[in-house]
C-alpha cells in the first residue's frame, strides 16, 4: 500500500524525531542538527510574535479608519503601540523613557487588575455559601481561611499550630497541595507524551497539514 504523506507532515515528523533523539543519543552531528532546528524555532517564534503585533496593529487600524464601534479604544491601542515602539526604537528598550512607560503604565495597569482580582475573589468567597451551602463548600472555605490566616501572623500574632514551618498552613501547602500538584504534573507529562507521539505519527496536525 502506498502511503501519501504531505510534505508538511514529513517535515514535522522528521524534525520531531531528530529533536527527540537528541535527548537520548549523544551524537555530535545529531546535536548540531537539533540545535539548528531549535534555532530555527526561535527565529520562527520571534517572527510569529512580530507578525502578531503587525496583525494587531492592522486590525485596530482598520477599525479606526472605518470608524467602527469602539473605535476610540482601538485608537488608544494603536497610538500606544506606535508610541512604545517609537520610544524603544529611538531610545532603546533600556532607556529611561521606555522604562518609564513600562513602570508607569503597564505595571500599574496589570497590578490593578491583580488587586481587583483579589477583591473579587474575596467577595465571591463571601457569596459562596449563599449560593451553595454544603460540606464541600464549608471545607473549601475553611481551607481558604487557614491558608490566608496562616500566611501571615494575625495582627502580628502567630498562632501555634497554624503558623510556622510545622503549622497547619505549611502542612496543607506541602502535603495535600503537593500531592494534587504531583498528580497534575504526571497528567501533564502523560498528555505531553501522547500529544508528542500523535504529532510524530502524523495523527494530530495542529499545524494544519
Amino acid at each position: 500500500m502506498r502511503l501519501k504523506i504531505p510534505l508538511s507532515v514529513s517535515i514535522v515528523i522528521g524534525v520531531g524525531v531528530v529533536v527527540l533523539l537528541g535527548y537520548f543519543i549523544e551524537i555530535p552531528v545529531l546535536a548540531i542538527v537539533q540545535q539548528v532546528l531549535l534555532e530555527w524555532a526561535l527565529i520562527l517564534a520571534a517572527v510569529a510574535l512580530l507578525v502578531g503585533v503587525i496583525n494587531l496593529l492592522s486590525v485596530h487600524f482598520r477599525r479606526v479608519s472605518g470608524r467602527q464601534k469602539n473605535g476610540a479604544y482601538s485608537m488608544i491601542l494603536v497610538s500606544s503601540l506606535l508610541l512604545t515602539f517609537a520610544l524603544g526604537a529611538l531610545f532603546g528598550p533600556k532607556s529611561d523613557l521606555s522604562l518609564w512607560v513600562f513602570n508607569h503604565v503597564q505595571v500599574p495597569v496589570e497590578s490593578s487588575l491583580m488587586g481587583l482580582l483579589a477583591v473579587v475573589l474575596a467577595f465571591a468567597c463571601v457569596r459562596m455559601l449563599w449560593r451553595r451551602l454544603n460540606p464541600f463548600s464549608l471545607l473549601f472555605l475553611a481551607t481558604v481561611l487557614v491558608m490566608l490566616l496562616g500566611a501571615a501572623p494575625i495582627m502580628g500574632i502567630e498562632i501555634p499550630g497554624l503558623h510556622g514551618p510545622d503549622g497547619l498552613r505549611a502542612l496543607i501547602a506541602q502535603v495535600p497541595a503537593v500531592a494534587g500538584a504531583r498528580g497534575i504534573l504526571i497528567g501533564i507529562g502523560l498528555g505531553t507524551i501522547a500529544t508528542g507521539l500523535r504529532v510524530l505519527m502524523g495523527a494530530d496536525r495542529p499545524y494544519g497539514g
Binding site: 496589570e110 481558604v144 500566611a151 506541602q174 501533564i188
Partner: protein
Amino acid sequence: MCGKPNPDDLDVCQYCEARLKPLIGPFEPADTHEPEERERSSVTDWLDSLREQEQGELFDAEAEFPEGDESAEDVSLQPEESYPGEPAEGDWLSKLLPERGSGEEAEASSASESPEWSAEEASQETSVPDWLSDLGKSIQEQEEEETFSEAEIEAFQDVDLWGMGELGEEEELGAEQDLEIGITSQEEIEPAEQLPKSGEEIPDWLQSFVESEPTTSAEPEEAAESEPGVAPDWLVELEETAGIETSSDDLEVESELEKIDWEALQTDQIDLKAGQETPTTLEDVPAVAPFALDEEEASLDIGEMPEWLAEADADDSEEQETPLEEIDASLTPGELPGWLEAMRPVEAAAPTAPFTEESDQEVESRGPLAGLRGVLPIEPEITQIKKPAAYAMKLQISDSERKHASLFEELISNEGVSAPIEKGFGISSQNVLRVVIFLLLLFAVGWPIYTGSQSVDLPLPSRETNQASRMIDNVMVSEPVLLAVDYEPGFSGEMDAASASIVDHLMIRGAYLAVVSSTPTGPAQAERLIKIVNNTAGHAYQYASQYSNFGYVPGGPAGLLSFAQAPRRVIRYGLDGEQVWEAAPLADVQTLADFAFVIVITDRPETARVWIEQVQPTLGDTNMILVVSAQAEPLVRPYYEGVPQQVNGMVIGLAGAAAYENGMPRTLLARKYWDAYSYGLTLAALFILAGSTFNSLSRVFAKRKNTFKDQK
C-alpha cells in the same frame, strides 16, 4: 323517382332531381339506334317468354338446363351477340343450383327461392348489345384469372340502378354488403320483400321505378316509353309466386318482413361467405349477382366435406339433438360418503367474498388487452387525486397516561429555563457591600505602608529559603549568575518584593548578573527590578560591567532548550546591542553550567516547570533557585521535594521573601509590605469568614421561613 313523366333527354328528374339514367349510361352509345331496337326486340322476346310461363317458375328452365345445354339458351332467349361472360354465369349458377339441392326437390326449392328478377337479369345479360359484349370480351381478356363473371358485374350495375344512384366507394361497399344479405335472404324471401323498405309507403317514384325496372337495366329509353303506373309483368308474377298480395299498405309489408327467419338467413350467409377473401377495393369486389354463388363458394358447400368430418358432424348433430333434459335425467347425482360429508367444511368452503359485478369493471378499449375486462388500469391509482381521509388528531389515552405525559412535559420545559437567582436576605445593595470591602482592604493595606509600620514580626526562614540564602552566600565576586526574570507586570507587587532581597543579596555578594527572560516583558521587568533594588538597597549596579541583560528568548520550551544547550548561539547581543559574551565575567561561560547558579523568578508554575524540565538537565552541578509566587508553590515544590532535587532552593511569595530578609542584615520591600500584607490577609480572612457566616445563616433562616410559610 317521383314517378312523374320526364322528357327523354333529361338525365335527372325535373321534379325530384332523381337520376333517370344509370351511371352506366356512357357505355351506351346514344347515336346507335340499331342495337337499341335489337335489344328492344330481344327484351320483348324474353318478356314474352316470361309471360308464357304459367306457373311463374321462371327459374325452372334456367336451373334445369345444364351447362352448355342449348335448351337453356332457348329458355333464356340468349341472343346471338352474347358475350363470353355469359356462359360463365350460366356455369356457376348451374353448378350452384344442383349442389344446393339434389333431385327435383332441390330444383323446386331453388326455383321457389330464387326471385324472378334474378332470372330476368340473367336473361337481360343475354340481350347485351354488341358494344357491351365487346367490352366484356376485353375485360375477360385482361382479367382471365378473375373469377368474377360479367353477369355478376351486370347484377351489381342493376343493383345500382335500383336507386343507389351515385354512391361513393364506401357507400357502395356498404350497399353491397346489404346486397349480400339480400342475396342470401332471397332464397327464402319473396321478391316482393326486396322492394325498398325505407319508406312506410311506396312512393310514386318507386312505383314508377318498379314500372320502369325491366327496361332501365338494359334500355332506359325504352323504359321511359313504357306506360307509367302499370306494374311490369315480372312483378305481377313475382307477387303471384310469393302469394303475397301486392299492396301499398306498408303495414302488410312489415308484417311480412317480420316473418322472415333472419337467423336462418344469416346462417346461410355465413355458409356462403366462408373462405372468401375480403375485397379491399371496389374493383376487387365481385359484382355478385343476386342469388348467385361463385364456384369457390360452391366448393365450400357441406356436401364436399370429407367423410370423417361428415361423420363427426353427424355425431355432433346427434348429440346436439339429444335434449338436455334427457341427459340430466340420465345422470345420477353424486353421493358422498358419510364420513366425507361430515368432513366437508361447508361454511368454510362457502364463498364469502362479495360478488364483483363485472359490469362495474372497465373494458380495455386499446392496446394488447383490448376487449378484456377488469385488467389493471394503465394509470395507477396514485395519480388519481383524492381528498385524504380525515383522521382524528386526538390521542386516545387514559387519565394516568395523561398525567405522566404532562409531568414529563413539565420536566422537559423546566430544563430550558434557568433557575431564578434568589435575592440575598438582609443585603441592601451589593454595590454598597463592594464599596465597604474596598474601603476596609484599602485601609488595612494602605495604612501600614503609609505609616511604615513594622509591628508584625517577620517569619522564620524555611528550609528552602535557607538553602537559597546559603547558595547565594557562596557566590564569588563577579561570578556570573544567570537571573531569569519571567513574571508579568501584574505580579510585580509580589514578585518584586519576593526577589528584591535575592537580588540585593547577589549585589551584596558582587555577583555578575546575566539577566534573561522568556517573556516579552521580562527584559523591562528585569531592568525595573534592578533599578528598584539599586534604589531601595542603595546599590549602583551598572549595566554591562556588573550585569547584562540578554533580553527575550522566544520559542518557549524550545527556546529555553536551545538557550540551555548553546547560550552563545542563541544570545549574542545584549539589550543595548552590545556583545554580551565579551564581558569579562561571561567570557568563560560556554554553557549554562558555567554559571554559579541559575535563579528563576516567575509567577507562573508553567514557566517554572519549563525552566526546570528544559534547562535544569543541562546545568550539571549548577544549582537552580526558584523565586516563585505563592500560587506556584504547590506545583514547584515537588521538584524541590524530589530526590534528587531539581530545584535546590526556593523563595515563595512575600512570606518567603520576608523570611529571607529575616536572615539578611537589612530589610527591603518584604519588610515594608509585611505589615500591610498581614493586616490585609487578616482582614480579608475575617471578612470572608464573617460574610460566609452571615450568608449561610441567612440561607438557613430563609429556608426555615419558607418552610414555616408552607406549613401555614
